[in-house]
Amino acid sequence: MNLQALKHICLKNAELVDPVAHTRQSADIIIKNGIIQEIGKIDSSFSGESVDCSGQVISPGLVDMHVHLREPGREDEETVETGCAAAMAGGFTAVLPMPNTDPPCDNQQVVRFLKQKAEKELVDVYPVGAITKGRKGIEMAEIADLYQAGAVAFSDDGSTSSNSLVMRYALEYASMYNAPIIDHCEDHKLANQGHMNEGVMSTRLGITGIPNAAESVIIARDIELVRLTGSALHVAHLSTAEGVELVRRAKQEGLPVTCEVAPHHLLFTDQDLTGFDPNLKMNPPLRTPKDMDALMQGIADGTVDVFASDHAPHSLEEKQVEFEAAPFGIIGLQSMLSVILKTVVESGALSLEQALEKMCVTPRKLLNLPVPQIKTGEPANLSIFNPKAKTVLRKQDIKSLSHNSPYIDMELSGKVYGVCNKGLMYINK
């Protein structure tokens, strides 16, 4: 692996982008034993190794707060190790694995197992605990225990509790630990075992659709529960125009509601499904161009707080089947930065700093995690990438155990050079 210890190294001629202060400067960074020793111009007396970073942007390490690492239970699809490899290659120094594993992350043992597995990784792994036992939506999981073992947020991702009282209690209980509830907002009955967005496309293709209301009715319910409890709620993978509007209004009221958008909802719509490609089957489904516009509007006006990939590995055997039999989800760690650069930054909806803020600062703030800074004396937790380069994601470059990606062989924007964290540096070869 392309890992090396950050003993004494100089990252030269990079453009440092600080999404907290929204500043940019050209400088060299000298790192000694994993700590930023100096920022400025390289000294002639510098004796360590130097890496030319011309054309590269260096930002504080990016975090993907919505991934599936499949361990424990589906180690054929992804493991903590391979998921972290994909994260590094994608420019991330931290990930939040969702609890829908087998067994689910609804007890201390699974949290400890994940933490222990991640110890040797460059990537920080912050487990998300389940809201309810077995993610069944019926009884609250041991939230305090999970938190004390290292869970930083709670979610039943993959499903939603239809029991509003359970959700109320969970919001209240988790708020004692300042941990947000991340809700996968879907009314499963209304979703009616659909496979794609409900609209003219689902009618044309003869596939059962999932209406926008399956998402927005739960977001509306959850916002009412936030109003009742005052606890923090984060809406996962927001996909509908109605959902954006609900979150926007909740924010205007000052309620502690945040949300994330996944890159694939900014690049594809249900119009792309004419070929029944199972790699375009996700949940929430690809919506209409109108929804995509609403998401972009929400990104531009600050309603959308976070970009998260919803990295969901599935084996070839599971995905290479007829559309209706295929599971939901695509891998996204290695393509996320590129897709965000392409859809959000190149379109001018956000500046590079603003886009990085949604992948670095805001997620950590809402999770109450320390935000890495590029400052003398701070640990080097950095992402290095060239935002101007064009890349094509090749199948052989995928670090995940699964290859279920619609981006394979597509030209995308930006190229990740590497990441630094925990006294280690990784360089994409």
Binding site: E198, G199, V200, S202, T203, R204, L205, G206, I207, T208, G209, P211, G275, F276, E317, E318, Q320, V321, E322, F323, E324, A325, A326
Partner: protein, 310 residues
């Protein structure tokens, strides 16, 4: 005249010219069917695989008969799918097809998109015999042939499709085909059985059967799956019967005689009463005969992409 398509996956993207060619060719095969020995050597040496993942006696027999009338070699594969293993089964089957060097595949499957999937992994010409709720193009072609025979032309014809549109691939293909050929289409049924956003396809919708009957020249009455009631889509069979089925008087007392069609098999007394189904206005049995002719035409045209006739 050749057709520009190499597979028949649906009617959505098939041109009026190709549909016209298929219907004209079907007319000539209809004559073949009326001969004392209704068999031609047109597809001798061509191997057709009938791949039926979903039980369908009528469509399967109609295709098999069409293949035999054309002297094709046929292989029949039918398997009811369990929802868990269907992906596995399909992939393995495709591998086998590849190894067997099949010329044409007639496929019926409960999942939309399977015929397209087959074209991506096999060189054979693929004919969709019904995929999920998506399309059933040969059924729509035989419906159109029957209407063309009765009315002379499809242009300007007013066709109402009545019943469970939501779950109907027959409706899907009929809508595309009829609109392409210049007919007008109205859908009629309980709102819960009409797919959302279907107006965008260029059809009109009515929830009142009387309104549809008043408007229509012909009515294609769809079969209602009795289990739909259990999934809550309408309150009772009794009510459906009372609202949608029309017994003889309303059909007859309208100013004009309305032509009755049904893709079969009929739930007699549910979506259609016997005296209507068997009346002079009904062309249901012509549809069955036309089914064989249309399938012969499709097989013939797709097996002869250059349009060479022996």
């Amino acid at each position: 005249m050749p057709v520009s398509i190499s597979h028949l996956l649906g009617l959505e993207d098939v041109s009026a010219q190709d549909i016209g060619t298929i219907l004209d060719t079907a007319e000539t095969f209809k004559e073949v069917l009326e001969r004392p020995i209704p068999k031609v050597p047109t597809l001798r040496g061509t191997t057709v695989l009938n791949l039926f993942y979903e039980p369908s006696t009528r469509t399967r027999i109609s295709f098999e008969l069409a293949e035999k009338r054309l002297t094709a070699d046929t292989i029949n594969f039918s398997k009811a799918t369990s929802s868990v293993s269907k992906g596995e089964v399909l992939r393995d089957t495709i591998r086998n097809i590849e190894a067997m060097k099949i010329d044409m595949i007639v496929v019926r499957h409960s999942a939309a998109g399977v015929p397209l999937f087959l074209t991506q992994c096999s060189d054979a010409a693929v004919i969709n015999a019904g995929d999920g709720k998506h399309e059933h193009p040969t059924q729509a072609l035989l419906d159109m042939l029957s209407l063309r025979q009765k009315f002379g032309s499809l242009k300007g014809l007013k066709v109402a499709i009545v019943g469970d549109i939501l779950h109907s691939r027959v409706a899907g293909s009929n809508i595309h085909g009829l609109l392409t050929m210049g007919a007008e289409v109205m859908l009629c049924g309980p709102k819960t059985l009409i797919p959302p956003h279907i107006h965008d396809l260029g059809v009109s919708v009515s929830y009142q059967i009387d309104q549809a009957l008043e408007w229509a020249d012909a009515v294609n009455v769809l079969r209602i799956q009795l289990e739909r009631q259990k999934s809550g889509l309408f309150p009772s069979i009794r009510e459906y019967h009372a609202q949608i089925r029309r017994d003889a008087p309303p059909y007859r007392t309208t100013e004009k005689e309305i032509t009755i069609m049904h893709p079969g098999p009929i739930n007699r007394g549910v979506e259609l009463d016997s005296d209507v189904a068997d009346s002079d206005a009904s062309i249901i049995l012509y549809q069955v005969t036309n089914g064989v002719a249309v399938r012969m035409a499709v097989l013939y045209l797709l097996a002869n992409p250059e349009g060479k006739v022996e």
